[in-house]
Symmetry: C2
Subunit: 121 residues, 2 copies
């Protein structure tokens, strides 16, 4: 057993790409991922799972078809499965995602922003 | 759909009891819980699930039979299922737990520190 804490700031310092989630921990069949984002992501949905966003630094807007939520540091939101959403950050935002192993970042939408899965940092 | 962010500091301000986790969000069949702790908890294990500890404020030591891990704010740890552990905090520590719905805080040990489940804040 690895007796070492997982330090979020240390993990964030190890990558710079935007919209490219890095796995930092697994709990059962769920993953904790860090991601740096800036700009507008693609509209998409995950038909099989809820998805948790926790903002660590910066601000994230989650746009939905019928409204939006602004997340500041220390704030989180659960996007229910099947609900279309578009993450948007005017300036760089650092956040943690929690979702089942295997979830693709662009969900049903695919496209150029689709990131490789299971990349650890 | 509730278009409101979940603010950890606001949620923490709403309760003071130690070792009494409050649910703040659900993702599929998993729960995000906040808890304030101080002192030594009971040694226990969870045979059916891993358990995630994320320290928000203060310091938490996770004692294991063969060592320990110190968690500071912005640090997390995954206690693997079946592994005996004892959370300890000299001063008050505020943390977030992530685990499946239904997990009892004292695991196999039971006793007076066993908290009621599914208490939302």
């Amino acid at each position: 057993m690895d007796l070492k804490s997982i330090n979020l700031a240390d993990k964030f310092s190890r990558f710079n790409e935007h919209w490219s989630p890095r796995v930092i921990a697994e709990m059962n069949d769920y993953q904790f991922k860090l991601v740096k984002v800036q700009g507008e992501f693609v509209w998409h949905r995950h038909d099989d799972t809820d998805e948790v966003f926790i903002v660590i630094d910066g601000e994230l807007t989650l746009r939905f078809r019928d409204g939006e939520v602004l997340l500041r540091p220390g704030e989180m939101y659960v996007v229910p499965k099947g609900v279309e959403h578009q993450p948007v950050a005017e300036r760089e935002c650092r956040m943690m995602l929690v979702e089942p192993r295997g979830v693709v970042n662009t969900g049903d939408a695919g496209g150029g922003l689709t990131a490789k899965n299971d990349v650890w940092v």
